[in-house]
Every structure is written in structure tokens, then in C-alpha cells.
């Protein structure tokens, strides 16, 4: 899967450059805003904001969101039938495929982004401990599982409604907004913050919280929320996939 992905280095460079540009533009914007407010907004420093946003964009390079559109394409093109004739679980295969496809750009983005941020803003105190590394790893893995489940629910709906693009767009934007793509979650108004914490969309991006000073007191609750949504969505996905296989229809025949 990784081999297939890295066949076009130019595409990878363009993808990585696109993400770096978006992240860079937002960071410059935030740098300006923070400098007009004395370097601190709502108790959050620019350094923390920069790392939080970087974690979000690094996570995005995995492109787990593409799972939904991959499932839709498989259904539209009939590839789902080819895969169902193989000794694999279709959904697990698609999830591993997505993960494999995203690993290389993720690795590139993490290495380059980390170097750039260390040089530009330095490492905040909250990140220089084994506690950070340990909990980040857990939240990162749980975030991957949760993201795959969120997008699997959307993708599996294609078995019933074929074109899931409008729904995908809504869910994807919910993940972006509640995950802290445009505005760090720590700066959200109270109600919005609660939605970001308690919804599966925001919970799938909890990696962005690991750099906040509040992480040490809130990590257990957040990991619990992630596990809760993984269980709930896991049951839903499993039920949907069982029903979806029975819904496979035939093009031609």
C-alpha cells in the first residue's frame, strides 16, 4: 500500500506542500493576532497554539477521511464485489489500506514540521515529558480508530444512498471545525468547547489537546470519551456492514 502511494513522489510533495502552506498561513495569521494581544489569548500562548495546530495538520496528512469516499467509489465502480470475493474482511481491508496510504506523507509532514517548529517557536514545557509522549501515543492511536469509524459510518451509507458527498462534506467540516483546524479548541466559547469535547468529531482530534496545560488534569476523561465513541461507533459500523453486505446490488448480469 505504501509502495503504491509513493509511486508518484511529485504528488506527495504537492500534497505535503499544500498542507504546509495552509498550516503556515494560519500560523502567520495567529502569530500576528497573538502579538497584538501581548502574546497570550485566553491563557494560551502562540507557542502552544502553533504546536496544537501542527498536531492537527500532521494527523490530517494520514487522510483517514478518504475512507468514506473510497467505500463510495468501490460501490459505484463495483470494486466492492471484487474485494468481497477475496478471503478478507472488506471493511478492515479498506481501513488498513487507508492507513497504509497515509503513512508516508504523515512521516514526511511530522519530520519536516517538527524541525520547522522547533527552530521557529521552540518546544513548550508541556511537551517535554514522558507523560506527554505516552498519552500522545494513546490518544493518537485512539484518534485513528475513531476517525476511521466516523468515516466508515459515512462511507457505508453509500450502500443505501450511493452518493454520500453531501453528508461527507458535513461530517468532514464538523471534524475540521470541532477538531481545531481553523481555531484552536482551547479558544472556543464554552458551549462550542463542550460540543467539541463530547462529540465524536472533536474527540477524533484530541491529539491537539495534548500540548495544552490542562491536558494533565483532563487526559483521562478525554481518553474515556474516545473509548466510549469507539465502542458506540464500532457497534454501529459492525451492524451497518452486516446489513450492507446483504444490500450489495449488481451492475449488469
Amino acid at each position: 500500500m505504501i509502495k503504491d502511494r509513493i509511486q508518484y513522489p511529485a504528488r506527495l510533495i504537492v500534497d505535503t506542500f499544500g498542507i504546509a502552506t495552509r498550516c503556515g498561513v494560519l500560523l502567520i495569521l495567529y502569530y500576528y493576532i497573538f502579538s497584538t494581544r501581548g502574546g497570550v489569548i485566553n491563557g494560551l500562548t502562540f507557542q502552544i497554539t502553533a504546536w496544537s495546530m501542527f498536531l492537527y495538520f500532521a494527523f490530517m496528512t494520514l487522510r483517514l477521511r478518504d475512507l468514506a469516499t473510497s467505500i463510495m467509489q468501490d460501490i459505484k465502480s463495483g470494486t466492492v464485489e471484487v474485494l468481497l470475493s477475496k478471503p478478507i474482511n472488506y471493511l478492515s481491508y479498506r481501513m488498513w489500506w487507508q492507513l497504509g496510504a497515509g503513512l508516508y506523507p504523515f512521516f514526511v509532514a511530522v519530520v519536516l514540521g517538527t524541525i520547522a517548529l522547533v527552530v521557529a517557536v521552540g518546544i513548550p514545557a508541556s511537551m517535554s515529558s514522558w507523560f506527554f509522549v505516552g498519552t500522545l501515543s494513546i490518544v493518537f492511536i485512539l484518534g485513528i480508530i475513531l476517525s476511521l469509524l466516523v468515516y466508515a459510518v459515512v462511507g457505508l451509507l453509500a450502500f443505501w444512498i450511493e452518493d454520500i458527498k453531501p453528508l461527507y462534506w458535513i461530517v468532514d467540516k464538523a471534524v475540521m471545525i470541532l477538531g481545531g483546524s481553523y481555531l484552536p479548541v482551547a479558544l472556543f466559547p464554552k458551549v462550542m468547547y463542550q460540543i467539541a469535547i463530547w462529540s465524536p468529531f472533536g474527540a477524533s482530534q484530541f491529539v491537539t489537546h495534548t500540548v495544552y496545560d490542562t491536558w494533565r488534569t483532563g487526559y483521562a476523561e478525554m481518553i474515556g470519551i474516545q473509548v466510549f465513541w469507539i465502542v458506540i461507533l464500532g457497534i454501529i459500523v459492525s451492524y451497518m456492514f452486516g446489513r450492507a453486505h446483504k444490500k450489495v446490488s449488481v451492475n449488469g448480469g
Binding site: 503504491d4 509511486q7 449488481v250
Partner: protein, 332 residues
């Protein structure tokens, strides 16, 4: 007697879908749509012995692909029983998949950006083969299917004929006991078709792989399959050895008559002779030899037309199959 490896009993499959009720509101159509049911396969039964080469044919929409997809566990039957190599595809899909191969002519399973050797490796791992087994089987298939000259090219750069050879070779990586092929020669030129048919016969003879194929190409049926099952409107209308199928209309002789001049009209023909085709400068007639012989038929029809050439021949398999399709369509 060879063991039966596919047993299908009273198999049916219906598809249900909602249709818009004319005159009903959007909300009503959304909440209680009209459900239409289409019967794709209707109570079919057949058995296949190990090592057979089966052509499963029928016109578009006859239920061929639906049946293949039920035999491979992709679709669930509405009614009836299927046993493939002793497995029920509905409940043992994964276990069955290790024993069968599938090729869907219009859908590729190869990685477009990678050489075919990567697809061999990928599917070898998928079928739980060891590294050593993958390497030796890959080498064997590359040799058998003559893939060496393009094995390092990305799949997207291969010709359709090369790609189809690779598709079939990859589907044989795990030495399946049955290979299901859904229109494997679609879009191929005559040379590529011939090569593919020869390869399939070779695999059938050397590895005893049972071949179960659907095709619209009479050449596939004639040169590849020893038995033909014809399906139409979801039901089996004929199941017989392929060479007997071509003899089904052996009582008929065909006459191609080239005309010197366009006839004013096409007269009614004597009993036992019928028009198959009427053109301004050529007509084709079918003579039922149970009613009259060819020489008698010629004597009777020559006065009607100004003839420049006559060609007498037996009916070909394509015509037999077409007539069977038409006959079963009319009876429905």
C-alpha cells in the same frame, strides 16, 4: 464418476428497490415509497463436476453475473441452496475464497501504478502463502502466461490483452480448484482471445482447475467449454454438452442467395423454407430438412429469384444460441 464440486438447488434471487409514485408528494415518496421487486434468478438448479469447463451464458440481464456472485458469496440468495466445494458461500465466504479464483472482465484487481509482480506478492500474502511459495508460484505463472516481457511495467501501461492475462494469472496464485470468469475476453482482439482461451485450457488440463465462465463470445464457448448452461429470464433453458448444442438445429440448412437484381417483392415460400434475412441483393433462407431436402428446396425457390450465387451451409453456434434466446424470450 468425478465428484460434484458445485451443487445449486432451487436458487432464486430477487432485488427490491423503491420507485417514485407519480402524483404522490415528495414526503410521501420518502416515507412510504412504492417497492418494486425484480426476479434476477428464478429457481435454478444444476451441478458441476470437478475439472469441467462450463459456459454459463445468456442474454443481457439473464441472471448470469447474479448467479456467479451468489456462487462466490458476494450476493446472498433469496431462496435455495448452494454448495461450492462443500462450503455454503453465504456463511463460509472467507473459507471458500481460499479455494476459488475470480476474474471480472470489466473490473481490475491489479494495482494500476505497480508492476504485476507486486500484485502477485500482494495476493500471495492475502491467501496466506509463504514468501517461498509466492516466489515460486509467481515464477511459474509468469512462465505459463508469458508475462516476462512486461512484468516490470506498471499495470496501467499494459495493453488490454496483457492485462487480462495478468488478471487471470494473479487470480491463480493460490492454485484455486475453481475459477469463475465473468466475461474474461470482453474487448480483446482475436489474437488475445485465442491466447487466453489456450491458457485456460492449459490450466484446466495441467492443474485440474474447474472453469466456470460467462461470456457473450461464441468463440469462448465453442473452443473452451465442454458444457453449456443457457439461462434466460433467470431460469435455465438448456444444459447440455457444447458439441450437442451446435447440433440442436442440425435439421436446418442455411442458403445464402446472392441476387442479380433486386426483387420486386419477397414471395411467400413453400412449406419447410423460411426467410432468415432479406436484403436488396442477398437473402438468407433456412431449409427444414425434415420437410424437404436442399435440392428440392433449390428447385422450388429458383423460379422466384434471379440468382447469381448460392452458398449452402450448416447453422453456426451463434445462430443456435440466438434462436434459443429468442425462443425463450417469446415463450416468456
Amino acid at each position: 464418476m468425478k465428484p460434484k464440486i458445485i451443487e445449486v438447488k432451487n436458487l432464486s434471487k430477487t432485488f427490491s428497490f423503491s420507485v417514485k409514485k407519480h402524483g404522490s408528494s415528495f414526503f410521501r415518496n420518502l416515507v412510504s415509497p412504492e417497492i418494486k421487486t425484480v426476479s434476477a434468478v428464478d429457481d435454478i438448479s444444476f451441478e458441476v463436476e470437478e475439472g469441467e469447463r462450463i459456459a454459463f451464458i445468456g442474454p443481457n440481464g439473464a441472471g448470469k453475473s447474479t448467479t456467479i456472485k451468489m456462487l462466490t458469496g458476494i450476493l446472498f440468495p433469496t431462496k435455495g441452496k448452494i454448495s461450492v466445494l462443500g462450503f455454503d458461500p453465504t456463511t463460509d465466504r472467507k473459507a471458500l475464497a481460499y479455494k476459488i479464483g475470480t476474474v471480472f472482465g470489466q473490473r481490475s484487481q491489479l494495482f494500476p501504478n505497480l508492476p504485476i509482480t507486486d500484485s502477485f506478492e500482494f495476493f500471495g500474502v492475502m491467501y496466506d502463502l509463504s514468501k517461498k511459495e509466492i516466489a515460486s508460484r509467481t515464477a511459474e505463472l509468469i512462465e505459463q502466461f508469458d508475462l516476462a516481457s512486461f512484468k516490470d511495467q506498471p499495470v496501467r501501461k499494459l495493453s488490454l490483452g496483457q492485462r487480462m492475462r495478468a488478471e487471470i494469472a494473479v487470480s491463480l496464485i493460490h492454485k484455486p480448484r475453481i475459477i469463475f470468469l465473468d466475461e474474461p475476453t470482453i474487448g480483446l482482439d482475436v489474437v488475445a482471445k485465442k491466447s487466453l482461451r489456450e491458457l485456460l485450457i492449459k490450466i484446466n488440463k495441467e492443474e485440474k482447475t474447474t472453469i466456470f465462465l460467462t461470456s457473450h463470445d461464441v468463440g469462448d464457448i465453442e473452443s473452451l467449454c465442454d458444457r453449456t448452461i443457457i439461462i434466460n429470464h433467470g431460469t435455465v433453458v438448456r444444459d447440455m454438452p457444447t458439441d450437442e448444442l451446435s447440433k440442436s438445429f442440425v435439421h436446418e440448412k442455411y442458403l445464402d442467395i446472392t441476387l442479380e437484381a433486386k426483387p420486386k417483392n419477397f414471395p411467400e415460400l413453400p412449406q419447410g423454407i423460411k426467410y432468415v434475412q432479406k436484403d436488396s441483393n442477398k437473402i438468407t433462407l433456412a431449409v427444414d430438412q425434415r420437410v424437404l431436402g436442399v435440392s428440392d428446396a433449390l428447385q422450388k425457390i429458383l423460379p422466384y429469384f434471379s440468382v447469381s450465387d448460392i452458398d449452402v451451409y450448416n447453422v453456426d453456434l451463434e445462430t443456435v444460441i440466438r434462436e434459443m434466446y429468442e425462443a425463450t424470450s417469446i415463450s416468456k
